[in-house]
C-alpha cells in the first residue's frame, strides 16, 4: 500500500523552525553551563616550547585551562575504527597500504596545521573565555611546513608525522585488461593534468557541542551537531574507557552537515573531558573562522588522466594517477580515496584501466568527506577528459558520451572492481543512455533559446553514478503510543533532509496510518541500542527500509490484537488511515487507539495473554550499495571582456530509485547543485606556501547567493532499486557531484575557439580572463 510514499507531503519540520522554535545545539543552555574557547595554532608547523596559562587562570570567571600535556593523561590520541577497516579482497585487488597515525585532541608537543587546538579555556561565558585566551603565553618554535601534496612527496619534504620516513599515507593501484596495449593501438589519446579545488562544506550552522554530567549517576549527555551520533557515542565510550551506556549522544536540530559533521572532532573530546572534570555543563560553539580553519576540508585532488579511444570515439582505456591532499592526519583511511577510485569510470564502459591513487599528508587541515566524498573530484577529471577527447576527435561531447554509456540491457553490470565494502562492484539498475538523452534534449533547447546579449553561450555535460545507502546497517524502532500515534526511532539523524516527514511517510504506509499520526525521533542514542547516522546518501535506504520492516511487524501485531476483539481472523482485517475493520464491514471499524487503549494494567478489556506494548525494532543490513545516477548539463554565458561566468540554466536528469517525497527530493538536488556551482565558480580554500589559510572568512571564501542560482530543469527517470524492499536509492549528494565538471565543460565550450583549456576551478572572473590570455598565447604558438 502506498498512500503516502510518492506524495509531496508538506514538511512537518517547518512550523517550529519558522517560528524560531528550533532547538539547535547553541539554543541549549543547561543551568550552570560554562563556555569553552580554544587557543589555536597560528603556524602550519611548530614545536610547542612552553605554555604559561597562570594569568588566564587568575581571570575572574575562568574555571579550567586544558592543554595537550594534561589532556594526554586523560585520553589517548584519536583513532577512528573506520580508518583501519580494509576488507581483504580490497587489499588483494589493489595492494592498498594505509598508514594511520593517531590524532591528539590537543597536541602536547607539536602542531601540524593552522587552527589546531593548543589550549582550551572554560569560563563563565564565551566573552570571558576569549579574554583568557589573550592572557595565555604560548611559545611556539616554527618548523618548515609543506602544504602542496606533490611537494609533500618530494624526498626532502618536511615530515608531518615524525615517526614516518615520508608523507605518503595511502597508496593503491588497480589494473584491468591491457591498458598499455590499448594506449599503443588507440587512434586518439588525450592526456590532461586536472585539479579539483579544496572546499569547505560551510553549513550555515557551525559545529557545536554541549556536555553535561548527571550528578546522580555520573552519566554524560552530549548534544552535538554531529551527523553520526551513534558513531560519536561509540568513539567516546572507547576513548574514555567508559561503560557503553555511560554516554548518551543526542543530535538535536542540526543546521546542515554535508559530510563535514560526519567526522568526529577534537573539541568533542575536550568538552566532554571538561564537563566531567568540572561537574558542570560545558558548551562550545564554533565560530566561522574556526570553521574554515579547523572543520574538515574537502576535495583537493590532482589527476594526471589519459583516455584512449578508437576513431569512432569508443573508449579503449583509462589511465589516471590520482594524488589527494590528505591534510595533517589520515583520519578516515581509504574512505575518500577509494570512493574516488570506484566512481572514476562512472557510467561508461572502459575495457582497460590503469589507476593509481596516493594520499599525501601536508601541514593543512584534514581533508574528509564533503558532499560527494571523492565523486565530484573524479567526475571533474573524467568528464573534463571526455570533453578533451571529444575535441580531439572533432565529435560532439554529448555524442561521445552516448557512444560509451553502459546500456540498460547490460544491468546488472559488474565493473570488475571490488567496492569498499568488500563486495564486487555491480551497478544494480538504471538507464544511463536515457538520462543523457533527456539532458541533451534540454540542453540543446536551452542553447537555441538563450543568449543573444553579446555573451558567449556554452553547454557542458557531466554524467555520474553514485553508490548510495552504505551499510553496515541502520536501526529503527516503531512504537504505538496509547493515543494510537506512532513514534519512530531511528539511528539516522537529520541535518535538514526532512526525515520527520519522509521517514514518517514510510512508516505511515507500512502500518496503515496517516502521516500526521507519526512522530520521527532521530539521532538519540538513548532510544536505540545501536545505530549509525546520516552520511553518504544513506538514510532513506537503510533507515527507510528498517522502518518499513518494523512498521510491517507493528501492523501485524495490531491486526492480531484487533482480530481478537473483532472475533475475526487477522487475514480478514484491513488497516488504513489508522482504522481497522473487517474487510467489507465498515461498521466494525476500530481506531488504533481503541486497540492499544485497553492494554493498561487493570483494564477489564485487556486481552490477558497480549503483551502490553505494541512495538517492533528492525535492522536493515544492505547487501551492498545501490547505484543512483544522473546526467547534468550546464548552460553558461561567459563575458569574454570581464571573465564573468553566469550559469543560466542547469539541467539534472536523475535516477534515485523510488521517490518518497518529490518536493523534498528536488530540494535536495537543487541544493546540491548550487553547492557544486559554488565550487565551480567561487569557492576555494587557499593556503599560502607558509601554510597560512588565506581564505579564513566569508569575505574571502565566497559562498553562492541567490543571485548565482540558475534556472533549474529537473527531470526524474527513476528505476527502482532491486536491492531493497522499498526500491529506493540515496540522493543527498548527487546534485553536488556534477556541477564542477559540467560548468567547466560549458565554459570551455563557450571559449573553445580562443584556445581555452579549463584544468581547474573555481572559474572566477580573474581566472577566466587568465585562461583567455593563456589560450591566445597557445593559439599564437601553434
Amino acid at each position: 500500500m502506498s498512500d503516502w510514499i510518492g506524495q509531496s507531503v508538506p514538511r512537518v519540520e517547518d512550523d517550529r523552525l519558522l517560528r524560531g522554535e528550533g532547538r539547535f545545539v547553541d539554543d541549549l543552555h543547561p543551568a550552570g553551563a560554562l563556555e569553552a574557547a580554544f587557543l589555536r595554532s597560528p603556524h602550519a608547523h611548530a614545536r610547542i616550547v612552553s605554555i604559561d596559562a597562570s594569568a588566564a587562570l587568575e581571570l575572574d570567571g575562568v574555571e579550567l585551562v586544558l592543554d595537550g600535556q594534561v589532556l594526554a593523561q586523560q585520553a589517548a590520541p584519536m583513532v577512528f575504527d573506520i580508518a583501519e577497516l580494509i576488507p581483504p579482497n580490497v587489499a588483494e585487488s589493489t595492494g592498498v597500504t594505509s598508514r594511520v597515525h593517531p590524532m591528539p585532541a590537543i597536541p602536547a608537543d607539536r602542531v601540524t596545521h593552522v587552527g589546531q587546538p593548543i589550549v582550551m579555556v572554560v569560563a563563565r561565558d564565551r566573552y570571558v573565555a576569549e579574554d583568557a585566551l589573550e592572557l595565555i603565553d604560548v611559545v611556539l618554535e616554527p618548523l618548515p611546513a609543506v602544504v602542496d601534496a606533490e611537494a609533500a612527496l618530494a624526498p626532502d619534504a618536511p615530515l608531518v608525522e615524525d615517526s614516518w620516513d615520508d608523507n605518503e599515507a595511502i597508496s593503491f593501484a588497480f589494473t584491468k585488461g591491457d591498458p598499455d596495449a590499448a594506449f599503443r593501438d588507440a587512434a586518439v589519446v588525450v592526456e590532461e593534468r586536472l585539479r579539483s579545488n579544496r572546499a569547505s562544506a560551510s553549513p550555515i550552522e557551525t559545529r557545536g557541542v554541549v556536555a553535561a554530567v548527571d550528578p546522580m549517576d555520573g552519566r554524560v549527555t552530549v548534544w552535538s551537531s554531529t551527523q553520526t551520533p551513534f558513531i560519536l557515542r561509540d568513539f567516546l565510550v572507547k576513548l574514555l574507557a567508559l561503560g557503553p551506556d555511560d554516554i548518551r549522544v543526542v543530535a538535536p536540530d542540526v543546521g546542515g552537515g554535508f559530510g563535514l559533521k560526519g567526522s568526529i572532532y577534537p573539541e568533542e573530546v575536550a568538552v566532554v573531558l571538561a564537563a566531567r572534570a568540572l561537574g558542570r555543563p560545558v558548551k562550545w560553539i564554533e565560530d566561522r573562522a574556526e570553521h574554515l580553519a579547523a572543520s574538515t576540508h574537502g576535495r583537493e585532488q590532482i589527476h594526471e588522466i589519459a583516455l584512449a579511444a578508437d576513431a569512432d570515439g569508443k573508449l579503449l582505456a583509462l589511465r589516471d594517477r590520482v594524488l589527494i591532499n590528505g591534510g595533517a592526519f589520515n583520519t578516515l583511511g581509504i574512505v575518500v580515496p577509494y570512493n574516488a577510485f570506484t566512481h572514476l569510470v562512472g557510467p561508461y564502459e572502459v575495457p582497460a584501466l590503469d589507476i593509481g591513487v596516493r594520499v599525501a599528508l601536508t601541514h593543512t587541515m584534514v581533508t574528509a568527506p564533503y558532499r560527494g566524498a571523492g565523486r565530484p573530484e573524479v567526475v571533474f577529471a573524467m568528464e573534463r577528459a571526455l570533453d578533451r577527447l571529444a575535441r580531439a576527435l572533432g565529435m560532439d561531447p554529448g555524442e561521445l558520451r552516448a557512444r560509451n554509456l553502459i546500456g540498460p540491457e547490460q544491468m546488472p553490470y559488474a565493473t570488475g572492481i571490488v567496492y569498499r565494502d568488500g563486495t564486487d562492484q555491480v551497478y544494480d539498475s538504471g538507464d544511463y543512455p536515457h538520462l543523457l538523452e533527456r539532458a541533451r534534449a534540454h540542453a540543446e533547447a536551452a542553447r537555441a533559446e538563450l543568449g543573444g546579449d553579446g555573451r558567449r553561450i556554452g553547454v557542458g555535460y557531466a554524467c555520474y553514478v553514485e553508490g548510495t545507502g552504505v551499510g553496515p546497517f541502520e536501526s529503527a524502532r516503531v512504537r504505538v503510543e496509547p493515543s494510537g500515534r506512532l513514534t519512530v526511532f531511528t539511528g539516522s539523524s537529520s541535518q535538514g533532509q526532512s526525515h520527520r516527514t519522509t521517514l514518517a511517510q514510510i512508516a505511515a504506509d507500512a502500518v496503515g496510518v496517516s502521516v500526521s499520526d507519526v512522530d520521527v525521533v532521530g539521532g538519540d542514542t538513548g532510544t536505540l541500542s545501536h545505530g549509525f547516522g546520516t552520511i553518504a546518501s544513506r538514510s532513506v535506504v537503510v533507515a527507510g527500509n528498517a522502518i518499513a520492516t518494523a512498521g510491517g511487524e507493528v501492523r501485524d501485531r495490531l491486526l492480531e490484537l484487533a482480530a481478537d476483539r473483532l472475533e475475526a481472523s487477522p487475514g480478514d482485517l484491513e488497516l488504513r488511515d489508522g482504522v481497522i475493520h473487517v474487510a467489507g464491514s465498515p461498521e466494525t471499524a476500530m481506531p488504533i487507539a481503541a486497540v492499544v487503549g485497553p492494554l493498561t494494567p487493570f483494564n477489564p478489556g485487556r486481552p490477558k495473554d497480549a503483551a502490553p506494548v505494541v512495538e517492533a525494532g528492525a535492522i536493515h543490513r544492505p547487501s551492498t550499495v545501490t547505484y543512483a545516477a544522473g546526467a547534468h548539463a550546464a548552460i553558461v554565458a561567459v563575458d569574454e571582456r570581464t571573465g564573468v561566468v553566469e550559469v543560466l540554466r542547469y539541467v539534472v536528469v536523475h535516477d534515485c530509485g523510488r521517490v518518497i517525497n518529490p518536493t523534498v527530493a528536488d530540494g535536495q538536488i537543487t541544493g546540491g547543485v548550487l553547492q557544486g556551482i559554488g565550487g565551480a565558480l567561487l569557492e576555494e580554500l587557499v593556503y599560502g606556501e607558509d601554510g597560512q589559510l588565506q581564505t579564513g572568512s566569508f569575505i574571502d571564501y565566497l559562498l553562492p547567493t541567490a543571485s548565482e542560482a540558475p534556472e533549474f530543469v529537473l527531470e526524474h527517470a527513476d528505476v527502482p532499486s532491486p536491492l531493497n524492499p522499498l526500491g529506493v536509492k540515496g540522493l543527498g549528494e548527487g546534485g553536488a557531484i556534477g556541477p564542477p565538471a559540467a560548468v567547466a565543460n560549458a565554459v570551455e565550450d563557450a571559449l573553445a575557439d580562443l584556445g581555452v583549456v579549463v584544468r581547474e576551478c573555481p572559474l572566477g572572473p580573474s581566472q577566466v580572463r587568465e585562461l583567455i590570455r593563456q589560450g591566445q598565447v597557445n593559439t599564437v604558438d601553434s
Partner: protein, 162 residues
C-alpha cells in the same frame, strides 16, 4: 576586556525590556542569551551570512554587527515576533513553508525577516529587487530557487491581503 554593565532599555516583539549588558555584548547574544529568543541564529559573526537578521525600528539589521547598548530605545522584531503565541504564520513564513524554501531551517529566520523588511518597505518590489534583498543572506541547503519563489508568493499574498 570587559567593562561595567549598563542598563539597556528596548522593546522586543512589542514587549519592553530593561536588562544589564556589557558594552561589548552583541545584540545577537543579548537576544539569545539574556532574553532567551534563540530563533535569531548566528552563522558567521562577521556580517556576511545574514542568519542573525532582525528588524531594528523596521530596518533589517545584522544582530551580530551591533552591540546591545546601541539598541537602547529601539524597537526590535525577531522571528518570534512575527506570529506570536501560535498565531497563524505571517504570509512570508507561510510562503516559505508552501514553497519548501527551507531545509535545515537555520538560515530561515534571517531570510524571512529580510523578506518581511523589503515587502513592508516596498510592497511592489520587482523580481530584481527581491533577488537583491535575498542575496544578502546565505543558505547552504536549498539552492535558493524555492526561497525566491517564496518571496514572490509572499509579495503577491501581502498585496492581496492589504
Amino acid at each position: 576586556m570587559s567593562e561595567d554593565p549598563r542598563l539597556v532599555r528596548l522593546t522586543v516583539n512589542g514587549v519592553e525590556h530593561a536588562a544589564e549588558a556589557e558594552p561589548r555584548l552583541l545584540l545577537s547574544d543579548f537576544l539569545r542569551h539574556r532574553l532567551g529568543l534563540t530563533g535569531t541564529h548566528v552563522g558567521c559573526e562577521h556580517g556576511v551570512c545574514g542568519a542573525c537578521t532582525v528588524l531594528v525600528d523596521g530596518a533589517p539589521t545584522r544582530a551580530c554587527l551591533m552591540f546591545a547598548v546601541q539598541a537602547e530605545g529601539s524597537s526590535v522584531t525577531t522571528i518570534e515576533g512575527l506570529a506570536p503565541d501560535g498565531d497563524a504564520l505571517h504570509p512570508v513564513q507561510q510562503a516559505f513553508h508552501e514553497q519548501h524554501a527551507m531545509q535545515c531551517g537555520f538560515c530561515t529566520p534571517g531570510f524571512v525577516l529580510s523578506t518581511v523588511a523589503l515587502l513592508e518597505e516596498k510592497p511592489d518590489a520587482d523580481d530584481d529587487e527581491l533577488l537583491d534583498a535575498l542575496s544578502g543572506n546565505l543558505c547552504r541547503c536549498t539552492g535558493y530557487r524555492n526561497i525566491i519563489a517564496a518571496a514572490r508568493q509572499a509579495r503577491e499574498g501581502m498585496k492581496a491581503g492589504e
